[in-house]
C-alpha cells in the first residue's frame, strides 16, 4: 500500500483526496451538501462548451504569470511580482496603442506586444537589480511594487489617458481592430492561449535541455560553488526576472487588448497571485504548469456558478482556493513523512 502511495499516480491520488476531504469538510461545516457542491463546481467549470471556453479564457493569464514566477524560481528567487509586471506591461502596451490609433499594418499587433513585454521586463529587472547588487529581498520588493504598478494604471486611466468619449468613465479609448488578436469559434478564447502553451514548452526545453538551464540549477542549489566555477549569478538573476516579467507583461497586454478591449483599473483579476499558486502546485516545472493552470482557472471560473446556483457568497472561491493550497501542502508533508519513515 505504502509503495503505491509513494509512486507518481499514488501521490496524485493522495493529494486529490486531501483536497476533497478538506473542501467537503468545509461545506459540511457550513451546512451544505458537499457532493452537490463539488458536482456544481465541476459543471460550472467544464460542464458545457461555454463553461469550457470561459475556463480557457481564465487560464491564459494565469499560465503566463505562473511561468513568470517559475522562471526566477529556477535560480532560487521567490517573486510575487507577476501582478505588478502584468499591470505595467498593460500600461506601456496601451500607451503604444494610443500613440498609434490610426496606424495600419499587421506589424502593429506585434509591436504592441513587444512594447508591453519590454516594459514589464524592465519593471522586473528593476527589482532584480536591487537583489543582485544590494541583496534586497525580492519577495518584499515585488510585493510593494505590485501596488505601485496598479496605482499607476489607475492614475493614467483617471487622468491623462481617460477617453473623453467614455462620458467620464475611467477607461482609455477602445483598441482598434488592428490591435486585437485572433479569436476562436466566436468565443473569447484568443490566440494568446496557444502562445502561452508554446512558451511553456519552449521554456521547458530551455530549462532542462540546455546549458543555461543547468547553470540556473547549479546557481540555485549551490550558489557558492557555481560562482566559484565562473557562473554569473547576478546576470542570471536579472535575466530570469526580466524574462519572467516579459511573460507577465504579455499576459497583461493580451488581457487588455483581447478581453477588455481597453485599459482600465482592475484588469488582472488576481492572475498574478493565482499564477504564484499554480507555480507552487507545479513545483516550478513548466510542463506541469499547464494542467495546473487549467485546474485553478477552472476553479475560479466555477465561482460564479456557486454564487448563482448555490446561493453562496463570492468569498467561497477564495476559501476553496485556500483549501486547495492547504490540502496540497498537507498531502506533500504527509507524503514526505511517509518517505522518511521508509528510510
Amino acid at each position: 500500500m505504502r509503495s503505491f502511495i509513494l509512486t507518481g499516480p499514488g501521490r496524485l491520488v493522495v493529494t486529490i483526496l486531501a483536497v476533497l476531504l478538506l473542501t467537503s469538510g468545509f461545506f459540511i461545516a457550513i451546512g451544505r451538501d458537499p457532493f452537490s457542491l463539488l458536482w456544481l463546481i465541476a459543471r460550472s467549470a467544464v460542464g458545457d462548451g461555454y463553461a469550457l471556453t470561459e475556463t480557457l479564457v481564465r487560464t491564459t493569464p494565469i499560465l503566463l504569470c505562473a511561468l513568470a514566477t517559475a522562471l526566477p524560481a529556477r535560480i532560487g528567487l521567490i517573486t510575487v511580482g507577476a501582478e505588478g509586471q502584468l499591470y505595467f506591461g498593460a500600461l506601456i502596451g496601451t500607451g503604444f496603442v494610443l500613440a498609434n490609433l490610426n496606424g495600419t499594418g499587421p506589424w502593429l499587433f506585434f509591436a504592441m506586444l513587444a512594447a508591453a513585454m519590454l516594459a514589464a521586463g524592465a519593471w522586473a529587472a528593476g527589482a532584480a537589480l536591487l537583489k543582485s547588487h544590494l541583496g534586497v529581498n525580492e519577495t518584499i520588493v515585488t510585493l510593494l511594487t505590485n501596488y505601485v504598478a496598479a496605482l499607476l494604471v489607475t492614475w493614467v486611466v483617471y487622468g491623462s489617458w481617460k477617453n473623453p468619449a467614455s462620458q467620464g468613465w475611467p477607461a482609455t479609448a477602445e483598441f482598434p481592430a488592428a490591435f486585437k488578436p485572433f479569436t476562436f469559434f466566436d468565443s473569447r478564447v484568443h490566440v494568446g492561449l496557444w502562445i502561452a502553451v508554446a512558451l511553456a514548452l519552449m521554456l521547458h526545453v530551455l530549462l532542462t535541455r540546455t546549458r543555461w538551464g543547468l547553470t540556473l540549477d547549479i546557481l540555485r542549489s549551490n550558489p557558492r560553488a557555481g560562482i566559484a566555477a565562473g557562473l554569473r549569478w547576478r546576470r542570471n538573476v536579472v535575466l530570469t526576472m526580466a524574462l519572467g516579467g516579459m511573460l507577465a507583461g504579455l499576459a497583461g497586454i493580451l488581457e487588455t487588448a483581447s478581453i477588455q478591449g481597453r485599459l482600465q483599473a482592475n484588469i488582472s483579476a488576481g492572475a498574478g497571485f493565482s499564477g504564484f499558486l499554480v507555480a507552487w502546485l507545479a513545483r516550478n516545472h513548466c510542463l506541469r504548469i499547464v494542467p495546473m493552470s487549467l485546474l485553478v482557472g477552472a476553479l475560479l471560473a466555477s465561482g460564479d456558478g456557486l454564487q448563482m446556483l448555490a446561493n453562496l457568497p463570492s468569498s467561497i472561491s477564495l476559501v476553496v482556493q485556500g483549501l486547495l493550497f492547504v490540502g496540497v501542502l498537507l498531502a506533500g508533508g504527509g507524503l514526505r513523512r511517509l518517505e522518511r519513515g521508509h528510510g
Binding site: 459540511i28 461545516a29 457550513i30 451546512g31 451544505r32 451538501d33 457532493f35 452537490s36 457542491l37 456544481l40 459543471r43 460550472s44 458545457d48 461555454y50 463553461a51 470561459e54 479564457v57 496605482l151 489607475t154 483617471y158 487622468g159 462620458q167 467620464g168 468613465w169 475611467p170 477607461a171 473569447r188 478581453i259 477588455q260 478591449g261 482600465q264 482592475n266 484588469i267 483579476a269 460564479d304 456558478g305 454564487q307 448563482m308 446556483l309 448555490a310 446561493n311 457568497p313 463570492s314
Partner: protein, 364 residues
C-alpha cells in the same frame, strides 16, 4: 451526525443535508418555469450601502411579482468579467438581467446584441440598445436639500466630501451638495478627498479625520457604505450627510439627513412591463418625486426653522418650481458654465466632469 452551522445557529442533521442536496440539485437542473431575473453587484451585497440598496430592490421584486426567482452574484468588477457572469446567468435561464453598476454598460450592450430575447436593465448608463434600458434615480435634488442642511448647520463654513472616484455621478453629488449649502450660506466651501476605492474603511476613517482636523464640520460622502464616515463623525462630534441607505442608527447625533435609494417599486414596474410585452428600452430616471429617492428623516441638529426652509424647497422641487441644475452656474475657476435661467442638457449632466465654484479639489 450533527454539525454546527454558525450562520444559522442550528444543528445540522443528516436529513438536513439530504434536503439541501435535493434543493441544490433542483436549483441547478430546475426548469425555468419561474421567470428568472439576474442581479449583478460590483461590491458585497451586504455592504449596507449602494449594493445593499439594489439587493433590497431584488428582494422587493421577488416578493411583489408572482412567479419570479432571482439569481444574484456579488463582487464582480467592472471588467470583462461581468460579461462572462451575465452570459452564465442567461444560460442558467435568466430572461432579465439587472446590471447594477455604472461600468457594466458596454458589456450589457454587447451582450444585448448577442441575446436579443433577454432584457437588460443597466444602472445609470447613457446608452440604449434594442433590448437594453437604463434606470437611475436623480439623487441630486435630495443631495441639494441635504446640502442646505449642511450649509445651515456648519459653523466654520467648511464642508467636506469623501468619495471613491471622480465619475460623473459622484461629481454631480459634490456639486449639488455645494450648491445647496451655498443657497443658505454663500461662502460655504466643500473640500474633496478621494479614497481611491469604493470600500476602504481605514482610508475613509483617515480621510474623515484629516478633513475634521482641517476645520471641516459637516461631511458628505459617496462611497460604497456610509457607516465608517458616519461613525467617525459621531465620535468627533461633527455632522454628516448620509447616502444610499439611512445610517442615522449608526450616528444618531451626527446625521443631519441623507439621500437614500428605493429601487424596488421602479424595478417591479419594469419587470411587469417586460412580462406584459409592453416594455420599450428607455432611460428611466426616478427621483424625489416618484419616491425612488428618499430624503432621510432629519437629525436632532437640524432645527425647526431650517427644516421648514428645506421642506419648502423640497415642495418647490416636487412642484417643478425649482431646478437644481439651472443657471447661473460658475465653475471652479470663475468661468460661467450656465447662464441665468438656462437648464442643463442631459449630456452635460450625465457626463459632468467639472466642479462648481466653492469646491476645493480636483476632478482628476
Amino acid at each position: 451526525m450533527k454539525f454546527r452551522n454558525p450562520q444559522k445557529e442550528s444543528t445540522v442533521k443528516l436529513h438536513h443535508l439530504l434536503a439541501s442536496a435535493a434543493a441544490t440539485l433542483a436549483l441547478t437542473f430546475g426548469a425555468a418555469t419561474a421567470q428568472t431575473i439576474g442581479y449583478i453587484y460590483v461590491g458585497p451585497e451586504k455592504d449596507y450601502g449602494y449594493n445593499t440598496s439594489h439587493d433590497l430592490g431584488r428582494q422587493f421584486v421577488e416578493k411583489n411579482v408572482a412567479g419570479t426567482r432571482t439569481l444574484h452574484v456579488e463582487n464582480i468588477p467592472e471588467t470583462a468579467e461581468v460579461e462572462r457572469v451575465m452570459e452564465r446567468m442567461i444560460k442558467s435561464g435568466a430572461s432579465i438581467v439587472f446590471a447594477t453598476s455604472y461600468g457594466y454598460l458596454d458589456y450589457a450592450i454587447a451582450l444585448g446584441k448577442k441575446y436579443p430575447k433577454v432584457s437588460f436593465m443597466h444602472a445609470g448608463g447613457l446608452k440604449l440598445g434594442d433590448n437594453v434600458g437604463t434606470y437611475w434615480a436623480n439623487s441630486d435634488d435630495a443631495i441639494y436639500l441635504a446640502g442646505m442642511a449642511a450649509g445651515s448647520v456648519t459653523k466654520s463654513g467648511k464642508l467636506g466630501f469623501i468619495a471613491a472616484f471622480p465619475i460623473p455621478q459622484v461629481v454631480r453629488s459634490i456639486n449639488a451638495f455645494t450648491l445647496g449649502a451655498q443657497a443658505v450660506n454663500p461662502n460655504a466651501t466643500t473640500t474633496v478627498v478621494w479614497t481611491g476605492g469604493w470600500l476602504d474603511p481605514a482610508k475613509e476613517a483617515e480621510a474623515s479625520n484629516s478633513l475634521i482636523d482641517a476645520g471641516v464640520d459637516v461631511i458628505g460622502e459617496q462611497v460604497d457604505s456610509p457607516i465608517t464616515i458616519a461613525q467617525t463623525a459621531e465620535k468627533r462630534g461633527i455632522h454628516v450627510i448620509g447616502k444610499d441607505v439611512d445610517v442615522s442608527k449608526f450616528a444618531p447625533k451626527a446625521v443631519l439627513t441623507g439621500a437614500s435609494w428605493n429601487w424596488g417599486p421602479a424595478m417591479v414596474k419594469v419587470v411587469n412591463e417586460i412580462k406584459g410585452g409592453k416594455w420599450k428600452p428607455s432611460h428611466i430616471r426616478g427621483d424625489l418625486k416618484d419616491g425612488t429617492v428618499v430624503l432621510d428623516p432629519f437629525g436632532p441638529a437640524v432645527t425647526e426653522p431650517v427644516r421648514k426652509t428645506i421642506l419648502a424647497k423640497k415642495d418647490d422641487i416636487l412642484k417643478d418650481k425649482f431646478e437644481v441644475w439651472s443657471g447661473p452656474l460658475v465653475a471652479q475657476d470663475g468661468k460661467e458654465l450656465l447662464a441665468a435661467g438656462k437648464p442643463m442638457s442631459m449630456e452635460m449632466l450625465e457626463s459632468m466632469d467639472f466642479f462648481v465654484k466653492g469646491v476645493v479639489g480636483s476632478v482628476k
